[in-house]
Amino acid sequence: MKNTEKNYFDKVHVWGTVWNYIALVVMFIVPIGISVLLKSWPTLSVLGKVLVTLIPLYWVTAIVEVATYVPMLGAGGTYLSFVTGNISNLKLPCGLNAMENAKVRPNTEEGEVISTIAIAVSSLTTTVVIAVGVLAFSKVFSSASSNPTFAAAFNNVLPALFGALGASYFIKHWKLAFVPVITGIVMLLISPTMGVGILMFITIVASIIGALVIYKADFGPFLKGLSKKNK
């Protein structure tokens, strides 16, 4: 790692941490503001009951998601994504697509720059689309989204998005595609409602194991080097 690289990554972590904690404060302004405005605070026992259901569901997934997204999106992209949300269905594929187009890879300074710009632009675009939609088109969109014709398009955004994104990867790495896709299908046959965070973690692990087998010759010296380093 070059010296400038070290400095830049360190700076991104400082910026990310500061924005992250400001975001935490801003997030709490929402329920506090609502409770103050309405002079209505939730009953702790009811809120506790709701959180007992939600926390195991989302906090465990959050740990898996952090471990999955940091290596893919880089520091800046991850800090931004976790504040602005919609990661798996928007920020992640957007960051991956931008790095693919720019022909840079993650965990390099170039990858960090491209991924961060893509995710920040995506966050701004989403904010604008939602704000304009809410303020100007709420009546039109409400009827359009419930119209069965348009509903078919809106209900199939993810197959369209990941089909197109998948094609650009599969064309280059077709050998790697079989194991994770089949693993995903089998997992859903066993547990059809498995959350995407957990399913993604399983298919990533399956994909890397598949890659280890297919590219045994490349991985051998690398793994030996790692084990020596650990000793």
Binding site: M27, Y58, T78, T84, I87, C94, E109, L188
Partner: protein, 274 residues
């Protein structure tokens, strides 16, 4: 009090959130752009990243907007707008709101008229979602250093890093492809039965195949045509929009019993295929 869900105060909170998101995004764009130039990344590459990211985002953002309107029936327009602008996520917000309302004896299918219920939903949505923000700064640097250090050490490690990155990317994409092939979503009814709310089937699989074929076709055209390099960033969003259009076309031209086929029957109790 009946309009409390879209009062001026609520809009003021929404504006504050939007201002924060814009400020944070602009900060990172400016810093990254500056550093990109220092690294010698061409201006054209940076501009292409911006253009293709805008195009890429439009369709999923419209789909997020639809979720705002779905939640608006119960929660008013402003709270879902705020929630889907920060941390929000299509699946998470719906489940969090529904769980909170079920505990209060309500549901998303009916409008909230009680301010206490409304503030409980807002608190539940927030606390449920904030966990990553509390621990991300503690692990992000260590995680990135460990991975970056291992894969950027030398040329051989870089090649392994490329393979791991590609296989992890494909792993992510595969999860969504599998869900388009045989996934489903459920909602638990008041008597504890898992009812199917969404299921993959004929249309989702056809849309997926259409998107793959179109993307391969557009990639080929971009490689062969003299203007191909300039058009490349637009290939993905175009394939995505065309595939969504294809889904609409199928529902119009294919008989309803075929186009409406899903692996799991919507509205009925979930029965696994195995």
């Amino acid at each position: 009090m009946e309009n409390f869900k879209s009062s001026t105060g609520m809009y003021a909170i929404a504006l504050l959130i939007i201002a924060f998101i814009v400020a944070q995004s602009m900060f990172f764009i400016i810093k990254s752009w500056k550093h990109g130039k220092e690294l010698g990344i061409k201006k054209e590459t940076l501009v292409n990243t911006v253009t293709s990211s805008i195009l890429f985002t439009i369709a999923p953002a419209i789909s997020i907007l639809v979720t705002v309107f779905v939640l608006a029936k119960a929660l008013g327009i402003v709270l879902p707008w705020i929630r889907l602008t920060v941390i929000g996520n299509l699946a998470y917000e719906t489940v969090a709101a529904e769980t909170a309302l079920n505990n209060l004896g309500g549901s998303l299918s009916s409008e909230i008229t009680d301010p206490v219920q409304f503030s409980t939903v807002a608190w539940a949505m927030t606390i449920g979602a904030i966990f990553p923000l509390t621990f991300l700064p503690l692990v992000c640097k260590k995680l990135q250093k460990a991975i970056g250090g291992a894969v950027n050490k030398d040329e051989k490690s870089a090649k392994v890093g490329d393979i791991i990155s590609a296989s992890a990317f494909i792993g992510i994409i595969s999860a969504f492809i599998a869900r388009a092939i045989n996934g489903c979503s459920t909602q638990t009814s008041t008597d504890g039965i898992k009812l199917v709310t969404e299921s993959s089937g004929f249309i989702s699989i056809s849309t997926l195949i259409c998107a793959i074929i179109l993307m391969l076709l557009f990639t080929l055209i971009c490689k062969k045509a003299s203007w191909g390099a300039k058009a490349e960033p637009f290939a993905m969003p175009l394939a995505m929009f065309c595939a969504m259009g294809f889904a609409v076309l199928l529902t119009k031209v294919v008989p309803a019993d075929i186009s409406g086929f899903t692996w799991y029957t919507i509205g009925e109790e979930l029965k696994t295929l195995l």
